[in-house]
């Protein structure tokens, strides 16, 4: 399984925190966007769109269901094909 480089992980975290309007120390790798941070499906789409733009990758819409916390997002980004 591909592992996401550290600099990319921090860029992902920055994007997620920016969209969910959170401080970086409020989020852990396993805290849940929806249950713990009050996110909803539209925020999830915003995260997906920003990641695609930032990294020049394509994330299938069906991955949204998996993208529940940072750990899961790192995995999805690592596995996403470049455009």
């Amino acid at each position: 399984m591909p592992i996401l480089a550290e600099d990319r992980r921090s860029a992902v975290k920055e994007i997620v925190c920016d969209i969910l309007e959170l401080e970086e120390d409020e989020v852990t790798d396993t805290s849940l966007f929806i249950d713990d941070h009050g996110a909803d499906s539209l925020r999830a789409i915003e995260i997906l769109a920003s990641l695609e733009k930032e990294f020049g990758i394509t994330i299938d819409q069906s991955e949204l269901a998996q993208m529940v916390n940072l750990e899961a997002v790192y995995k999805v980004v690592a596995e996403a094909p470049a455009r």
């Binding site: 909803d40 539209l42 819409q61």
Partner: protein
């Protein structure tokens, strides 16, 4: 305008539909539209109105072969945005269809109301493109003057030279056409207006296409409402304008009556930005039926909102079942043919319902293979059927839980309805 509330006591005057103006991807004018509804034509084709490079799926339902100058004579067409051109042309068409001359209306108090989702966002797209390419100083001032959504209604008043009118544009998105018709119904039934020109208009735009695409709701090829393999919407455009007048006025001038407006219902749950809420959709149907004085078992056909998304179709079908139970009438989606014409959708839906009543047929839900078991309705797949329709329900559901439902009934010359 009116103190009459949905579900309350309705005004004294009966209100009928006597003229239709249609601009759609499957026909311009009521006659062409009727033929296409009966034949089950699809308005889908690759989008040509804006750049779709980089998108994997690029179909939409564009209006083609529309010459605004065929309808618009008093207003320089260059002053009007694409949606206003549709709205104004459809209004002129509706009056002609009703056999009314604008001069006949000049001395009478009226209402002009057009519903919309995007207003003139097609024009805004062009301004943003110019700004990004060449800077804000290069934005075309002619286009800037087109962008106010209020012009969808006021431009109609200007073109028809009608001054004793209220002319609001109603911006309740994808149910806005029904909102406008409901407003017209109240105005005419209460006697506050002698006539109403109501409906909806929208032009396709890149902003909306891209937004829906990003939500994952754009279908790759075609729109398949209620099908187990449905994949979403196609964006569409057009306008539907209806002439509402009192039954007395229509009879006095010997007008053709397509249908009677029996009532309507509105509610807004503000539950979620994009997800429909089943309970509130069901409640809106009950409000509309109560306002119309109609029992669920008396409804012969429902024209559903039926977008072709997973979320809408299951929620809407379940809401219909909860209200109608074993008496659930046939339930079709015009969006299978027209795509999602946004603010025009429920206005074109109301016109299609009126035409179905008049010409005694049910338009089909096309592109249909197998009905989703979670949508327990007969969607009249692929082939129109002949039917004697007395009461028809037209659903409009919008983002934010803005629901609006209109009930139409056949008007028979002997005065017997329902």
């Amino acid at each position: 305008m009116s103190s009459v509330r949905p579900g309350g006591v309705t005004g004294n005057r009966r209100v009928v539909l006597t003229g239709f103006g249609v601009i759609s991807s499957i026909g311009i004018g009521a006659e062409e539209f009727t033929e296409s509804l009966r034949a089950g034509r699809s308005g889908a084709s690759p989008i040509s109105l804006f750049d779709v490079e980089g998108f994997a799926h690029v179909n939409g339902c564009e209006v083609k072969g529309f010459d605004p100058e065929q309808w618009i004579s008093r207003t320089p067409v260059r002053e009007l945005g694409r949606a206003s051109r549709f709205a104004v042309a459809a209004a002129v068409m509706a009056l002609r269809d009703a056999g009314l001359d604008p001069a006949d209306l000049a001395g009478r108090r009226g209402l002009i109301s057009v519903g919309t989702t995007d207003g003139e966002s097609y024009e805004l797209d062009r301004l943003v493109a110019a700004e990004l390419a060449d800077g804000p100083e290069r934005m075309d001032p002619q286009i800037v003057r087109r962008v106010s959504a209020a012009r969808l209604s006021t431009a109609i008043a200007h073109e028809l030279d009608l001054t004793d009118v209220e002319a609001p544009t109603i911006a309740t998105a994808c149910s806005a056409g029904n909102y406008a018709i409901g407003y017209g119904f109240d105005a005419v039934s209460s006697g506050e207006a002698e006539y109403a020109l109501c409906g909806g208009a929208d032009a396709m735009c890149r902003k909306t296409f891209t937004g829906f695409y990003r939500l994952g709701t754009i279908a790759p090829e075609v729109c398949q409402p209620f099908d187990v393999d449905r994949k979403g919407i196609l964006t569409g455009e057009g306008a539907g304008l209806l002439v509402l007048e009192s039954l007395e006025s229509a009879l006095a001038r010997g007008a053709r009556i397509y249908a009677e407006v029996l009532g309507y219902g509105l509610n807004c749950d503000a539950f979620h930005q994009v997800a429909p809420k089943g309970d509130s959709v069901a409640q809106c149907m009950s409000l509309a039926l109560a306002n119309a004085g109609v029992k669920p078992a008396e409804v012969d056909l429902i024209s559903a909102h039926g977008t072709g998304t997973k979320a809408n179709d299951i929620t809407e079908a379940a809401a219909i079942r909860s209200v109608f139970g074993a008496d659930t009438p046939r339930t079709i989606s015009l969006k299978s043919m027209l795509g999602h014409t946004m603010g025009a959708a429920s206005a074109l839906g109301a016109i299609a319902c009126g035409l179905a009543i008049t010409h005694r047929f049910i338009p089909p839900t096309i592109n249909h293979r197998r009905t989703d078991p979670e949508c327990e309705i007969d969607c009249v797949p692929n082939q129109a059927v002949d039917a004697d329709l007395r009461v028809v329900q037209n659903n409009g559901l919008a983002f934010g839980g803005n629901n609006a439902i209109v009930i139409l009934g056949r008007y028979d010359r002997d005065g017997d309805i329902g």
